[in-house]
């Protein structure tokens, strides 16, 4: 029984490690500036984790194989422990874990501690059950005022844009996130009903959108294309289908698109979504 268990533990360990190495089940390729740093930290951590996991399982399997009671009447080693070894392995794990923990703050700090670069594009994001609204300021660069009291799904004013505000006249609100390749973008996130979470796997981050809070995140997309947006915080029965798309456009297409008023903006986005089909490799 002991040998069977040892063999199972080893086989399970090999299969688990294989699953991570196989490559079929890995992130979609990163498309942001901070992506490579994320991937690097992930690989470093998964190597540390993998080595610790494999070492512990192999040792467990070995102990189970080697130290079974053979019925020869001999007794186990009578030992209550070894303080030197306790101190040694405590120190080693402490150093390794804390080092990994400190390294693991780098991408986080870049995303959250540093302000968005001054040349960033700005997009307001207002999530609702079960739809994404992306608000663009238009050529004047100023977001029109919004007011929850003016929200009306019936008249397609999903975010309560106040038409009395002159800054709102050239604004566009569409269901697609439009960004520009090579230029940072700052998202200003909020939700109008319940908590949602913006999740685009190739961006390597997600962020909750919380009613009553304006949360800022910034990133720099690099790879032109179309990517899927999913909701990652349980928001109700259609949560699994709260889907939209993000476009990363070349500079000229981005400039041209974001200067369009609502109706043309919408039509142009539809064209671009066809031009850049979703493709992960």
């Amino acid at each position: 029984m002991g040998r069977a268990l040892a063999v199972f533990i080893w086989v399970m360990t090999i299969l688990s490690v294989w699953m991570f190495l196989d490559g079929r089940w890995w992130f979609p390729k990163s498309i942001t500036e901070h992506g490579p740093a994320y991937d690097q930290q992930f690989v470093l951590t998964i190597v540390v984790v993998g080595v610790a996991f494999a070492a512990a399982q192999v040792a467990l399997g070995y102990a189970v194989w080697r130290f079974r009671d053979t019925g020869d009447g001999s007794r186990a080693v009578y030992s209550h422990g070894n303080n030197r070894m306790e101190i040694l392995w405590t120190a080693i794990t402490a150093v390794v874990f804390i080092t990994v923990a400190v390294l693991g703050q780098r991408v986080w700090a870049g995303l959250h501690f540093e302000p968005a670069p001054p040349d960033s594009n700005h997009v307001r994001v207002v999530a609702q059950q079960f739809q994404w609204n992306f608000h663009y300021a238009g050529p004047d660069g100023k977001f029109g005022r919004t007011d929850p009291a003016k929200i009306s799904d019936e008249s397609l004013n999903f975010i309560g844009l106040d038409s009395a505000d002159p800054a709102a006249a050239d604004d566009a609100v569409v269901a697609t996130l439009v960004t520009q390749a090579g230029r940072p973008v700052e998202l200003n996130l909020t939700a109008r009903d319940v908590t949602h979470s913006l999740w685009v796997p190739p961006l390597r981050f997600k962020q909750d959108l919380v009613p009553g809070l304006d949360i800022k995140v910034h990133f720099k997309p690099l790879q032109v294309g179309q990517y899927e947006i999913a909701c990652a915080e349980l928001c109700g029965q259609q949560h699994y289908k709260m889907k939209s798309f993000m476009l990363v456009l070349p500079e000229d297409e981005h400039r041209q698109l974001t200067s369009l008023p609502q109706a043309q903006f919408q039509a142009q986005v539809t064209q671009l979504l066809k031009k850049y089909p979703v493709k992960y490799d």
């Binding site: 303080n83 874990f97 962020q207 009553g212």
Partner: protein, 642 residues
């Protein structure tokens, strides 16, 4: 030897009584109701808790299988579901809200009514007093009250299945974490499963909090005051340390959840605004939302996780205790580094109170706070690693007897490592950015606080069953239960890591739709996962079916199992010194006197390969139990062991 022990105990009996002033020497009850229903005997209450958890675990298990079926074969017509739930599964096709209510109820029932009740309320209640040599808990009536309040909590949560308020669900749909505003204003937003079921969910949890609080007080007082003569803290079995630490965690964390639950209930029913901000809209200017203003959804998350993270340790610590205990017993070797194990357990418990924010990295909480929580979180890895090393140290040089409880205890160690180690990934703010709310998280916490904890319970059940019911469980069936369970749980949860890396979000009722017989992925980025999803589901079905073997073994052995001797495992602690099953007052009027630590196996020169805690050394038969020199083992850490 037994004879000498009895005489010795008699000699100390009168004296030892003075050490246990809090015990009520109640006479054994005679009527059925006082004996088995409203019993104040901790042993009966322990079994009541275990049966409550057993019922709950099968409800939760069936729900998880239903979820897996929907994820794998969405849109399939299951006639039996259509018959049972004509609204939730019209024509037998599960609705998304039905799925979400399964998510919520599975989590709630498993976390509260299984993982919190069985290891602590069940095994702890039964064996803590016996292992410290007491004849009952400190407050037997309070103990009875704890169980019956828990029972009411279970009735209320089960009522939420049938009185959910929306016919299409089997309970609330907010997840076991119940984040507002969804859980507060979901009903106004017309989300199914946010009506009466949600209120019942909150009420049930509040009731559960009260019960746990009473239980925790009782455990702490019992352990501190009712230890028998010679049972110094450092001679206690590690199980007692685990139950003690768990009780402290419960005492400090459940009140916070209780308060949060009451506030949420007020938000739902009394028009308060603790967790709901102003300016909400449903898109048509509904009046009911306009009364809310000034609340914070994130406040709920802080309160919930201040409880929720210690809760993880409430679930797993008793499993750690049982595993240490059982590993040592069947390794025939003292626990390696007993003192380090005790400190590690306390360190885990203490640090567990300072890391709740790692559940909230992407919640919108201050990123600087996230930084601090992250470093603290990874520090918890250190005492966890100490425990793992010490378990391996216990096995090193052992003479392992592969009984069923030992198999599950070894399984616990393997699963604890597999599940715990990925905390190193999720605990980093940066990496959590991508991993949060994916199947990677599901894999991590199910392995650790779900499956490992359950393995700890299985180990405990197979180990202590003979003492509780006077009969052995079938070893053959036990092993037939172990193998598919061990292989199955890895088959379920290892692939979930891969799904999470690919980006699969949790709490999705389906990932593909069947259109004209073709499976079409809703999200293209998940295109490589359907094979894994099927594999996981089949693993889950096999694992779930294997639990029927356990159920059969459990029921069969109660009535037909082989008669158990008083000490069938050649173990050392006090529960094995008394009759099987123990008499009403545990030790038949005797008060055990303890002479040594809990894990004296393979002591050189001893007549057998185990020396019981009550066995005096020949030289000290008349000496005070705390003073004399005993056999010195090689190596350190054996403080309290002589």
């Amino acid at each position: 030897m037994a004879e000498a022990e009895v005489t010795h105990q008699e000699a100390h009996a009168a004296e030892a009584h003075a050490h246990a002033p809090g015990v009520h020497h109640h006479a054994p009850p005679s009527g059925f109701i006082r004996k088995y229903i409203f019993s104040i005997d901790h042993k009966v209450i322990g079994i009541q808790y275990l049966l409550l958890a057993l019922v709950s675990v099968f409800v939760g298990l069936v729900m998880s299988v239903l979820m897996r079926m929907n994820l794998t074969w969405p849109g399939t017509e299951w006639p039996i579901l259509g018959t049972l739930f004509p609204d939730g599964a019209p024509n037998g096709v599960m609705s998304p809200e039905f799925y979400l209510s399964l998510v919520t109820m599975h989590g709630t029932i498993m976390v509260f009514f299984v993982l919190t009740t069985a290891p602590q309320g069940g095994f702890g209640n039964y064996f803590l007093p016996i292992q410290i040599g007491a004849d009952d808990m400190a407050f037997p009536y309070l103990n009875m009250l704890s169980f019956w309040v828990t029972f009411v909590g279970l009735v209320v949560i089960l009522a939420a299945i049938f009185a959910s308020g929306s016919p299409s669900t089997v309970g609330p749909t907010g997840g076991w974490t119940g984040y507002p505003p969804l859980s507060a204003v979901g009903d106004i937003l017309n989300v199914p499963g946010q009506g009466m079921g949600m209120n019942l969910w909150i009420i049930s949890i509040a009731i559960f909090c009260v019960a746990s609080l009473l239980g925790a007080l009782n455990f702490i007082v019992t352990l501190l005051n009712l230890r028998t003569r010679g049972m110094s803290l450092m001679r206690m079995p590690l199980t007692c340390w685990a139950w003690f630490t768990t009780a402290i965690l419960a005492l400090l964390s459940f009140p916070v959840l209780l308060a949060a639950g009451i506030l949420l209930l007020l938000d739902r029913t009394a028009g308060t605004s603790f967790f709901v901000p102003g300016g909400l809209s449903n898109g048509s200017g509904i009046e009911a939302l306009k009364t809310y203003s000034g609340g914070s959804p994130i406040l709920w998350q802080h309160l919930f996780w201040f409880f929720g993270h210690p809760e993880v340790y409430i679930a797993i610590l008793p499993g750690m205790g049982a595993t240490s205990h059982i590993l040592s017993t069947f390794a025939r070797k003292p626990v390696f580094g007993y003192r380090a194990m005790v400190f590690a357990m306390f360190a885990i418990g203490l640090l567990g109170f300072f890391v709740w924010g790692h559940h909230m990295f992407i919640s919108g909480m201050s990123p600087y706070t996230g930084f601090a929580f992250s470093i603290l979180t990874l520090s918890i890895g250190v005492p966890s690693a100490i425990k793992t090393f010490n378990w391996l140290g216990t096995l090193w040089g052992a003479r392992i007897r592969f009984t069923t409880p030992m198999l599950f205890a070894i399984g616990f160690v393997s699963l604890f490592v597999a599940g715990g180690i990925t905390g190193l990934v999720l605990g980093q703010t940066s990496l959590d950015l991508s991993m949060h709310d994916t199947y990677f998280v599901l894999a991590h916490f199910h392995l650790v606080m779900g499956v490992a904890a359950i393995f700890g319970m299985f180990a405990g059940m197979y180990f202590w069953f003979p003492k509780m019911f006077g009969r052995m469980m079938s070893e053959r069936l036990g092993k037939i239960h172990f193998w598919p369970t061990m292989i199955g749980v890895y088959g379920i949860f290892i692939p979930m890591h891969a799904m999470g890396i690919v980006g699969m979000p949790r709490r999705y009722s389906q990932f593909h739709e069947v259109i004209n017989g073709q499976e079409v992925m809703i999200y293209e980025f998940l295109r490589t996962t359907p094979g894994l999803v099927k594999f996981v589901t089949w693993s889950a079905i096999v694992t779930a079916l294997a639990q029927l073997i356990f159920l059969f073994n459990f029921v069969y052995s109660i009535f037909r199992g082989e008669r158990a001797s008083d000490n069938p495992w050649d173990a050392t602690t006090l529960e094995w010194t008394t009759a099987t099953p123990p008499p009403h007052d545990n030790f038949g009027g005797q008060v055990p006197v303890v002479y040594r630590g809990a894990y004296e196996y393979s002591v050189p020169g001893a007549p057998q390969d185990f020396v019981m805690q009550t066995t005096p050394d020949e030289t000290e038969a008349n000496a005070p139990p705390d003073g004399a020199a005993g056999v010195q083992g090689q190596g350190d850490g054996g403080n309290g062991h002589r």
